[in-house]
């Protein structure tokens, strides 16, 4: 079973995304604190990460760069899920190493399709 990390500080969205991904058959670990999530990811690299950008302790962009800098997670697919929708934000997201960029308000079904597609391509 594929193991996914969800890093998101908004509890509603975190639980929604985690539930939806579990429902379609992934093993999901959800984190509120990005610092703990990075540790978990480095300890045991996941198959994919769903990542919010605006979090107080560490920005999602920084999480992304940290994961990219480590050999274990250098190519792990990262899907950004964020309310930052402007051109420059999307550019910054991809520059930090994001695989895909989903803007809030988002469609949970669409998110699942994207995750499926990325993982099947990676396989």
């Amino acid at each position: 079973m594929k193991r996914l990390l969800v890093i998101e500080d908004d509890v509603d969205i975190r639980e929604l995304v985690a539930f939806k991904l579990t429902q379609v058959g992934y093993e999901v670990e959800a984190f509120e604190d990005p610092r703990e999530a990075v540790e978990a990811a480095l300890h045991q690299p996941p198959d994919l990460v769903v990542l919010d950008i605006m979090m107080p302790a560490m920005s999602g962009l920084e999480v992304c760069r940290r994961l990219r800098a480590e050999p274990a997670t250098a190519v792990t697919p990262i899907v950004m899920l964020t309310a930052k929708a402007q051109e420059a934000d999307v550019e910054r997201g991809f520059a930090a190493g994001a695989t895909d960029y989903v803007v809030k308000p988002f469609s949970p079904r669409e998110l699942v399709s994207r995750v499926d597609a990325i993982l099947s391509r990676a396989a």
């Binding site: 920084e62 402007q86 930090a96």
Partner: protein, 484 residues
């Protein structure tokens, strides 16, 4: 002879009594107005449209200027938290104002800064020399400017204004901790009334005792020492409710240097912060009032009570004393610089209402209080004053003060409600009592010292602009330079 003295003292006592009655009653009005404002705020919160402001490509961009002098301890967490603020178009400019510690080094390591070239518009005159400009390798919206220190925060602010590229400029203390929505909320007045609003200030609270994690307050608690607790109550009454009241009356004279937002074009138009001033933040607002009134422009300066900026208040009596002396000196400076406005109908309610109030109560209040207490003690010692009567008078005066502070706590409890525990509420009530017996008088004494400091100093010394080549001078007390 004794009779004459007795009568004079009696009349004097009554005078002082009425003075405080008047002052406290005015504060009562402000608190009631602020309470009304809080009710309105909470009613309107569900339809404030903050998400709309956040997601709109039409929201004006903000440059946050963080003047930093020897802030190695907090600066990285602060900048990280600022970058995570909920705001669509945001740029952070840290002005390293001649730090002698590792401020720059910790920033460079945390954000992988590299030297870049960036044009700093020479729109405002600045005195410190810009040494270098740095930005992160990964294009995060952060700029760090290193300059030689002039010991003046105003100069660092002005460099920040020159470098800013967004239409709004926000000034934030390097050790301040902001709530996530703070910026969005403080921008709202500009979005609601873009024609008129030229500046807005956020509320400042005491961070002492609170649990801070990674640049965010995660748990609000009362501090341990009474001196800090008293300041919590004081900030609540004067800087939260007092200013909310003034703002509602369109008469806000002070925006805290710890958290204020301005239109960049207006800042440039009025000539930026005055490096000769100790209270440069208050002076700036006074100057904006002055210029815009002189040009007969319709404008507004707004205080926003809900976005909170948490800042560490002095822990010891000596730093607190230094801070208050400086504020007192700063206030006189502002009043002296803008003395032409005082009582001048040309400046509307600022000239006729607000400034006279500041002269009569904020400035002379310290004198009246110290002389009043002194006379009372002397009268009692010489047996010229009836002990029971004096006690009664004092009880009423002090009781009114306590009532006001407790009322402020009640308003807080029914509206913003930041402190959750019962123990904290009890401690706050106790602090409200102590504040009025002991602290208040001590505070008056410090303020009086601040006033005397101005009188003793040669005016030309503090009104003269610092010349360039001034850079070896260090800040007198970097921790206490901002008015909250």
């Amino acid at each position: 002879m004794t009779h004459v003295l007795r009568v004079t003292l009696g009349w004097f006592g009554w005078g002082v009594f009425w003075y405080f009655l008047l002052l406290n009653s005015w504060y009562l009005v402000l608190i009631v107005v602020a309470a009304y404002d809080a009710v309105e705020h909470f009613r309107a919160l569900p339809f404030g449209g903050y998400e709309d402001i956040f997601s709109s490509p039409l929201t004006p961009g903000v440059t946050v200027v963080v003047p930093a002098r020897n802030e190695e301890k907090d600066i990285v967490d602060s900048v990280r938290a600022l970058l995570a603020l909920r705001y669509p178009e945001l740029e952070i400019i840290v002005v390293d104002d001649g730090s002698t510690d590792e401020t720059f080094a910790v920033l460079r390591d945390a954000f992988a800064l590299e030297p870049v070239s960036r044009v700093i518009a020479p729109e405002l005159v600045t005195y410190g020399e810009v040494l270098s400009v740095h930005a992160p390798a990964d294009d995060a919206p952060l700029v760090v400017i290193r300059k030689t220190g002039t010991g003046r925060r105003a100069d660092a602010n002005n460099v920040g204004i020159n470098a800013a590229r967004q239409p709004l400029v926000c000034f934030i203390d390097a050790d301040a901790v902001l709530d996530e929505l703070a910026l969005l909320r403080v921008v709202k007045p500009f979005v609601d009334d873009p024609e008129r609003v030229v500046a807005s200030g956020g509320s400042v609270r005491a961070a002492n005792g609170c649990v801070v994690d990674a640049g965010r307050v995660v748990d609000v608690r009362m501090p341990r020492r009474w001196l800090e607790r008293i300041q919590v109550v004081e900030y609540l009454r004067s800087f939260l409710l007092g200013r909310a009241g003034w703002s509602r009356l369109h008469s806000l004279l002070i925006i805290s240097g710890a958290f204020g937002l301005f239109r960049r074009d207006v800042l440039v138009e009025v000539g930026g912060f005055d490096p000769a001033c100790i209270g440069e933040d208050a002076e700036m607002v006074a100057r904006i009032h002055r210029r815009l009134r002189e040009q007969h422009r319709a404008y507004d300066i707004v205080f926003v009570a809900e976005p909170v900026c948490w800042t560490e208040v002095p822990r010891t009596r000596s730093t607190l004393a230094t801070q208050r002396r400086r504020w007192s000196t700063g206030l006189v400076e502002v009043l002296w610089t803008h003395r032409r406005m005082i009582g001048n109908p040309r400046y509307g309610r600022i000239g006729l209402g607000v400034l006279p109030y500041f002269v009569l109560f904020e400035m002379l209040g310290a004198v009246v209080e110290v002389v009043g207490v002194g006379a009372m003690v002397a009268g009692l010692a010489l047996g010229l004053v009836n002990v029971a009567f004096a006690l009664l008078l004092a009880t009423v005066a002090v009781g009114y003060g306590v009532l006001l502070s407790v009322l402020a706590l009640a308003v807080e409890e029914f509206s913003y409600r930041r402190y959750r525990s019962w123990g904290d509420l009890a401690r706050a009530v106790a602090a409200a009592c102590i504040e009025n017996v002991g602290y208040r008088q001590l505070h008056a004494w410090w303020r009086l010292q601040g006033l005397l400091g101005v009188v003793r100093r040669d005016p030309s010394e503090w009104l003269a602009l610092p010349r360039s080549g001034f850079r070896a001078r260090t800040a007198p007390d970097e921790a206490v330079t901002t008015t909250p």
